[in-house]
Symmetry: C2
Subunit: 195 residues, 2 copies
């Protein structure tokens, strides 16, 4: 199906530093706070101007919801990839699907997956979560935290947490909330360029 | 920033038949109905089992909103690419951004862009439209048409058309609606596999 030469190909290849961080994570992160803390560390690295092609203070990761091992992480790659779709959650979901070989993670019998996100997902990423077959969403900063700092979260459905629950997706939010807010505020203070 | 060898790379390369169709479209499609008719023809081709890796009865395309020339088309590639994110609208937006070299099309001074979609976008794609910098959304089948046939459109915000308008995005829907509904119904009748 693929062309040999393709003028409009996009390759999603994660930054080297991100896969290095993944490689260092050999043990499961048993508590929700540990997983969030690790994801926030990725957001800090991604927004650090020392990293080539830095892409904003957002990070996410898909974990096995039973044994708490990392499947794949994502960071915001909108600017480095020149692609508006590549929010951290989308990158993590795409990578997890590719690594596990399924376009719906809930088709993998007997397994459950958690998406940990540094900030409550924007409208696009929220819409993507059911399609990916995620069972549990864990968020750091709240929607209102991101908006208060000036980030546009898009137009989400009212009572979106209830709507995800009705689809069988558990939502836990406000985990390590102050650290997650600090990540957004630090970026705003240093850069000012908002998505 | 990119790794030389990358274990979790996804390459979005459009099917050969799609780029062939694009190449055949040398003239602008001046009327909204002509543009929708062309997009619906892509949806029919994509859902035809004669095409390798067929991916469902959904198609979309980004046009220049002033001269009505095609920028890039997209079809649903969820199954062939094994990626839940690759709805037709997302594929069209990503390709348009790559071709025009901007992660926000509204940053291209003096130009305006229209997204034509065979069915009103799902919650994820709806959320993606403002981030891509689209100025006008044209839809064929309505949300309720797709739901009536059994497709899951996700949880959209109430009054989403008004919310897009408030962001400066014009919405025109129900264009060639009967033909757009027929495309969905034919797929349902032949395949039954729904997204």
């Amino acid at each position: 199906m693929l062309q040999e030469s393709c003028s409009s190909m996009i390759s999603l290849c994660p930054p080297q530093w991100l896969t290095d961080e993944e490689s260092l994570l050999v043990n499961p992160l048993v508590s929700t706070e540990e997983r969030m803390d690790w994801v926030l560390s990725l957001g800090r690295k991604n927004s650090c101007s020392g990293h080539e092609g830095q892409g904003g203070p957002f990070a996410a990761a898909v974990f096995d919801a039973d044994d708490h091992r990392l499947i794949a992480a994502g960071v915001n790659l909108v600017l480095p990839a020149g692609c508006s779709v590549l929010h951290a959650e989308i990158v993590a979901l795409i990578r997890a699907e590719q690594l596990l070989g399924s376009h719906r993670l809930d088709l993998l019998a007997g397994r459950h997956f958690e998406l940990v996100s540094s900030t409550e997902p924007c409208a696009m990423c929220l819409g993507a979560i059911p399609w990916a077959g995620i069972h549990r969403l864990v968020c750091g900063a709240r929607d209102e935290d991101a908006r208060a700092i000036g980030f546009d979260e898009g137009d989400k459905p009212d009572a979106w947490q209830t709507k995800l629950s009705q689809r069988g997706i558990e939502v836990v939010t406000g985990v390590c909330q102050q650290a997650a807010i600090a990540l957004l505020q630090d970026y705003r203070g240093e850069h000012g360029r908002l998505y």
